[in-house]
């Protein structure tokens, strides 16, 4: 019989099995992450990922088996309970939403740590595993599914991914409306609270399933970093989901190979790479820090030129023109340093916007300058 079974490990190396599991986990997280980022719930994943430790411990006390599917279900339910507790605390109006997150998760996490160290220290629930998972062990725990022997985590995460995709496809319209306008959603008949808890339940189950492969901290990164990057460069929810999945895949691949090359924690490296790709996106996308800074500098240079044109245009022909526009006094009036104003004035003269009128010793607009002045006046409704 054994010989007839299709063993994944016969076809794909152990390393690749890890990588594939990683990618599937990352995509499963990133898809839900898009909605979490859009709903400004990113730090709830922080609370969720820390709190499910307690969920896992409690579920373990009941099931006495770390491999039991009930462990995932129990911990998943506890994750939803965490979100519910945060909402409950925040809804008392006694604390702000952020503070509610900040008070709930340390409590649950502390309880989890205490319970582990008091009663479960002999169990294979090391704190390192809690934080970083057991990525390297993925191929060692196998299971059989439809006659195929494959890593258990791979199977779990594939099922979760499938569920997430089906959920998003089924409720795409409702999710979209309730994400962008919860009130409108309730008015038009969708129960947005219901959808919220569905989303949180799925996030919780995804986090729990990902937990023992990638650990608590990487889960946060998998949820938020790819979706945040995608959020920056796409304008449409559909594309955002696709781009987030691409980011998730690329992050996993780079992170995996770098980690293997350096012989360091795979899940930690994927978190680092995810942060890095997101940061690079922040810097260089269309409205990124660097790109917009460059544009800003260019525009501000133009703005300074325009400013002087408007200033001259406004005061030309007035009694005060001698004072406002005089060779020596103009810088003073703009409250600019001599150096800065002479630089701008030189540019304006070079580009033929203004000329120095030698009789009155003031700057006046040329024809081109006058045109620009009129254009600016209409453009800005002056």
């Amino acid at each position: 019989m054994i010989n007839l079974m299709f063993k994944l490990s016969n076809f794909i190396g152990l390393g690749e099995q890890i990588l594939i599991t990683m990618i599937i986990t990352a995509i499963a997280c990133a898809l839900l992450g898009c909605f979490l980022v859009l709903r400004k719930l990113s730090m709830v994943t922080d609370a969720l990922s820390h709190s499910i430790l307690l969920g896992i411990v409690i579920a373990y006390f009941v099931t006495k088996d770390l491999g039991s599917p009930f462990l995932i279900i129990g911990a998943g339910i506890f994750g939803v309970f965490t979100v519910y507790s945060i909402e409950l605390v925040a809804n008392t109006g006694l604390v702000k939403n952020d503070d509610a997150v900040g008070i709930i998760f340390p409590l649950y996490f502390s309880l989890g740590v205490i319970l582990i160290s008091m009663f479960a220290s002999n169990v294979h629930l090391d704190t390192d595993i809690v934080l970083m998972g057991q990525t390297i062990m993925i191929p060692l725990y196998t299971t059989e599914f439809l006659g195929i022997v494959l890593p258990k985590s791979l199977l779990n995460m594939s099922i979760i991914l499938l569920i997430n995709v089906i959920f998003i496809l089924l409720f795409y319209k409702e999710l979209k409306v309730s994400t962008f306008d919860p009130q409108q959603a309730t008015l038009s008949g969708f129960k947005s609270t219901f959808l919220f808890y569905c989303l949180m339940a799925l996030s919780s189950f995804t986090a729990v399933s990902a937990f023992d492969t990638v650990g608590a901290i990487l889960v946060i990164s998998l949820f938020i970093a790819p979706s945040a990057s995608a959020y920056l460069i796409t304008k449409d929810l559909k594309y955002m989901l696709i781009v987030a999945s691409l980011y998730a895949t690329v992050n996993s691949i780079i992170g995996y190979y770098v980690a293997v090359a350096l012989n360091v924690s795979i899940s930690g490296m994927v978190a680092v790479i995810s942060g890095l790709t997101c940061f690079l996106t922040v810097l260089f996308y269309e409205n990124g820090v660097v790109t917009s800074l460059l544009r800003l500098r260019r525009n501000r240079r133009q703005l300074k030129l325009d400013l002087v044109i408007v200033h001259i245009g406004n005061h030309l022909g007035q009694e005060s023109e001698q004072l406002e526009l005089g060779f020596d006094s103009i810088a003073n009036h703009l409250s600019w340093k001599q150096e800065r104003s002479s630089k701008t004035l030189k540019r304006l003269i070079k580009e033929n916007y203004i000329v120095a009128e030698q009789v009155k010793k003031i700057f006046i607009l040329t024809e081109k300058g006058q045109e620009r002045y009129d254009l600016l006046k209409t453009q800005y409704g002056l």
């Binding site: 730090m43 901290i217 970093a225 945040a228 980690a259 899940s267 990124g288 820090v289």
Partner: protein
């Protein structure tokens, strides 16, 4: 923890004796030197963190503390790699530097991109902490570090208050006292700055300067707290007592005082409980006590859930009487 067990072995029997031991504080433990050192360390830290945490909570920045706490960890590991030893001061400096970089990145991203603060915090927190884990696994697999003891590095994640030594207490004091002094000196300015930043600017209080001060004192405490409560939970030392205090007091100075006192009390009780029961780590025990006090305050405080309930009932009764 096992250090403690030596002192208290006779006292740890079963859960049943919990109340007894609890009611009559065990003098053997209280007077033991190790307990006193640990207790002094956690209490000073919690008192200072409680007071200074009110600033970040009231300024709506409580989760930034959480992100910085996590982000300080890679700095600790790098400092260890450079110094090849667990010198508290060097690790402290490492934590400060990496926390400061994280803070700068958070400001850069949340100010200059359309990502909100929430997402930024989650990304920075996870990638920095991930980096810490990468470095830690590098040390574990690298022969250059094979001869150096690195077991202590893990303590900076979960905290290991039981290993607090005299040197650590001095470090805590060296950070807590200047932090509190800065707070006292700029109390007036902090007050206007938190309440009405625009007005504060109009009377000549510079926002950037105040943010920098706030960062310096918060970060110092986070970095010293890493060894006591660990990177993951240190933020609660800042947040939770402030939340408790805000349930009771309506004036800033009282909020600070109550936060500081609850922090201190929780630290004492948490340390005591953890020294009676084996396996109860000190940091999580303190946070457990802190959180329970916070929830209790939200329940029975003057504006709390019960008060609201009774007010509503009275209102309904009064109405039906009329």
């Amino acid at each position: 923890m096992y250090l403690f067990n030596l002192f208290t072995a006779s006292k740890i029997i079963d859960i049943g004796s919990f109340q007894l031991a609890f009611l009559s504080l065990d003098m053997d433990i209280l007077s033991s030197y190790v307990f006193m050192v640990v207790c002094a360390g956690t209490m000073i830290l919690a008192a200072a963190a409680g007071a200074i945490g009110t600033i970040s909570v009231l300024k709506g920045q409580s989760l930034i503390g959480d992100a910085i706490g996590h982000s300080a960890y890679p700095g600790v590991v790098i400092a260890f790699m450079i110094g090849m030893a667990l010198d508290p001061l060097k690790l402290f400096i490492g934590a400060i530097i990496s926390g400061a970089i994280a803070f700068a990145l958070i400001q850069l991203i949340s100010r200059h991109s359309k990502l909100n603060l929430d997402a930024t915090l989650a990304i920075i927190l996870s990638s920095f902490f991930g980096l810490g884990m990468v470095l830690k696994s590098y040390i574990q697999g690298h022969e250059a570090f094979a001869h150096v003891s690195q077991g202590g590095l893990k303590n900076y994640i979960f905290g290991q208050a039981a290993y607090i030594k005299n040197a650590d207490v001095y470090l805590i004091l060296a950070v807590a006292i200047p932090s509190i002094l800065i707070f006292i000196i700029f109390y007036k300015e902090f007050k206007v700055f938190i309440f009405d930043e625009t007005y504060a600017k109009s009377i000549g209080i510079k926002s950037n300067f105040m943010y920098a001060l706030m960062l310096v004192i918060t970060m110092g405490l986070i970095a010293t707290g890493l060894k006591v409560v660990g990177a993951i939970l240190i933020s609660s030392f800042l947040i939770v007592p402030a939340i408790t205090a805000m349930q009771w007091a309506q004036q800033f100075n009282r909020v600070i005082l109550i936060a500081s006192l609850t922090g201190m009390f929780s630290a004492f009780l948490g340390t005591y409980i953890s020294s009676i029961y084996p396996g109860m780590s000190t940091g999580p025990s303190i946070i457990l006590v802190m959180s329970l006090i916070a929830f209790l305050s939200m329940l029975i405080g003057p504006r709390g859930i019960l008060a609201k309930y009774f007010r509503r009932r009275k209102f309904i009764n009064d109405k039906s009487n009329v």
